[in-house]
């Protein structure tokens, strides 16, 4: 962007100028086309998931149609091997992807966040042992650990969430610990301690708000990974079980019928890719906005 602008930044950021700015013009640092595209994709998917019964033209489990139909006006994405409408199944599948993605990241955030907070805040032996465990968990390829955990717990949606939550927890622990350590050395922490603030208050009032930015970025990025992992587990038969529609599970079945009806293998994968792309775009945009050090890169 050019150095000479008609309105200097100082004024746009001032109160007077803000009221004069039309509402559709975001402050400049929020004008991030990639991030906005991501937000739109994610929001659209959430709406589709919530409004699935309205959007889907057919019941996702009704086997009313002719089997393996190509895409047509009646069946936008064709029908599957049991005569179910693929489009309706993809609409309903968004629910599983979002649910498993969000809950597993929340699990990771809770486990990892608490561990990282304790370890960074208290240091000492707690820190040493927590970080040792984290190092060991990092020593496993994530998807392998997820396959083993969900496979041994028994393939189901709940166990897939647990497995994915566990494999991403160490990443959260590490980032939270690092952020806590850097907050701990700030002058305002020293000041609050001198005034006699309790540990609880220090954490709630000073530590947590100041580590939110990296956490938000991390959460968005891991949402995309979690959705990919869920799809992979369902694809391998280790996630949500049929007949419930999942994008990964639909792809798995599609491999058998690929020769006769290739569209079965195309649409579910496309759905996964678009949603994951949405979260990746959103994460990229949020990073630009929330992490000033990375701006201009």
């Amino acid at each position: 962007m050019s150095v000479v602008t008609t309105t200097p930044d100082v004024i746009t950021e001032g109160r007077a100028a803000r009221t004069a700015t039309p509402w559709w013009k975001f402050p400049k640092r929020y004008r991030n086309p990639i991030g906005i595209a991501g937000a739109i994709i994610v929001l659209a998917t959430v709406v589709i998931a919530l409004a699935a019964p309205i959007i889907a033209p057919y019941d996702p489990s009704s086997q009313g149609a002719i089997r393996l139909l190509p895409p047509s006006r009646e069946h936008l994405m064709g029908t599957d091997e049991l005569g179910r409408d693929t489009f309706s199944r993809i609409v309903y599948g968004s629910r599983v992807s979002l649910q498993v993605g969000i809950i597993s990241v929340v699990i990771a955030l809770l486990i990892g966040g608490v561990l990282g907070l304790l370890s960074g805040y208290f240091g000492g032996l707690v820190d040493t042992w927590t970080m040792r465990l984290v190092d060991i968990m990092f020593a496993f390829p994530g998807i392998v650990l997820a396959i083993v955990i969900s496979g041994l717990l028994g393939p189901s949606r709940r166990n897939a969430m647990i497995a994915i939550g566990i494999i991403y927890a160490p990443a959260f622990a590490r980032v939270v610990r690092g952020a806590v350590l850097s907050v701990k050395s700030e002058a305002y922490m020293e000041a609050a301690k001198v005034v006699g603030a309790s540990n609880m208050r220090l954490v709630r009032q000073h530590v947590v708000p100041n580590i939110l930015a990296p956490l938000i970025v991390l959460t968005t990025v891991y949402l995309s990974s979690a959705i990919l992992s869920e799809a992979a587990l369902s694809f391998l038969g280790l996630g949500t079980q049929p007949p419930e529609p999942t994008w990964g599970g639909m792809l798995n079945i599609a491999r058998t019928y690929m020769e006769i009806s290739p569209w079965m293998a195309i649409f579910p994968g496309l759905a996964i890719a678009i949603l994951v792309l949405g979260f990746n775009f959103l994460g990229d945009g949020l990073r630009d906005i929330l992490d000033p050090r990375l701006r201009e890169r």
Partner: protein
């Protein structure tokens, strides 16, 4: 340098022990009794017979004794026998490991030769249409599920060329061309996400290095742009890229598992998965440990390489 390597090797011991402990604990703590799985729960096998089976498998010993025996046997090269086929697990995995390693190395090679040039061009032509396209392409590449890419490739080759991959694995030593023909598609499917990561990393570090004083000096003293780019900038920009690539190689062994399933290759990942579906616990235990050990060793090599390339890191 040798001190650094020794230091890292010494650190390897607790990591490996911790990993084996974690795998072992995971398999014991999770629900499901191996004896019930072998004998069935339908009551056809008497409980006395079950106890005998349990004793013969050493499962009635205290847990620490079982762990010590597992590790002790592993150290002498005995990984136990598959519950399903009775075949020694060491042999099963030795057959599977070369497939997974070849897949990972080919995937790494393909992604690197594509990604580094793209990243460099993207950085040099910063904020042009090419740069923008490469950045979007990078994010798209990160978002494609590799099992979908693999499925589409199979679909495309069979529709367009009527070609389907051979069901039996062709070792490189027997028929190099046949082997590469078989491995090229899975490797590309594996390479796509890694390509995106490497490209993004190369672009970022290239931009960083291009802003450094020594690059400006080199430009100012009138060096031709190309030597500046390759000898001064790229050489230094590649150091962090190598670390990232190295870390990804370990993850690649994991994602290879999924791609192996699509292409029906009997690598470690596919073996692990079959073990899980057959409830073949000794096999799962050993296959997980193999993958984890490979992962740790790769990371060690990468770290050593990193210290060798960048003298500033020495003895961190």
């Amino acid at each position: 340098m040798s001190k650094y390597i020794l230091q890292r090797l010494a650190l390897l011991v607790p990591t490996l022990l911790g990993m084996s402990l974690l795998i072992f604990a995971m398999l014991r703590l999770l629900p499901g009794d191996v004896v019930d799985i072998i004998a069935g729960t339908d009551g056809t096998v008497s409980s006395a017979a079950k106890e005998k089976l349990r004793d013969s498998m050493g499962l009635s010993d205290p847990i620490p004794v079982q762990y010590a025996r597992w590790i002790g046997n592993l150290l002498t090269g005995d990984a136990g026998k598959s519950l399903r086929s009775g075949e020694p697990i060491g042999e099963i995995l030795m057959r599977a490991l070369p497939i997974t390693i070849e897949l990972a190395i080919l995937g790494l090679f393909i992604s690197t030769i594509v990604a580094i040039p793209l990243g460099v061009i993207s950085a040099v032509k910063r904020d042009t249409a090419f740069d923008f396209a490469a950045r979007i392409g990078g994010l798209v590449g990160l978002s494609l599920p590799n099992f979908w890419v693999a499925t589409l490739m199979l679909l495309f080759t069979s529709k367009a060329f009527g070609w389907t991959p051979s069901i039996r694995f062709i070792p490189f030593t027997q028929d190099p061309i046949g082997n590469l023909q078989q491995m090229i598609l899975p490797s590309i499917a594996l390479a796509v996400p890694l390509m995106a990561i490497t490209m993004r990393m190369t672009r970022t570090t290239m931009l960083e290095v291009l802003g450094q004083d020594y690059v400006r000096t080199a430009n100012a003293k009138g060096l031709a742009p190309r030597p500046v780019l390759y000898r001064h900038a790229l050489k230094n920009a590649l150091i962090p890229v190598i670390t990232v690539i190295g870390f990804q190689l370990g993850g690649l062994m994991g994602s290879a598992a999924v791609v192996e399933v699509v292409f029906g290759l009997n690598g470690v990942g596919n073996t692990l998965l079959q073990g899980i579906f057959n409830r073949d616990y000794p096999l799962v235990q050993a296959a997980t440990l193999y993958l984890a050990v490979a992962f740790v060793l790769i990371n060690l090599i990468v770290d050593v390489l990193y210290a060798w390339l960048d003298p500033r890191i020495k003895l961190a």
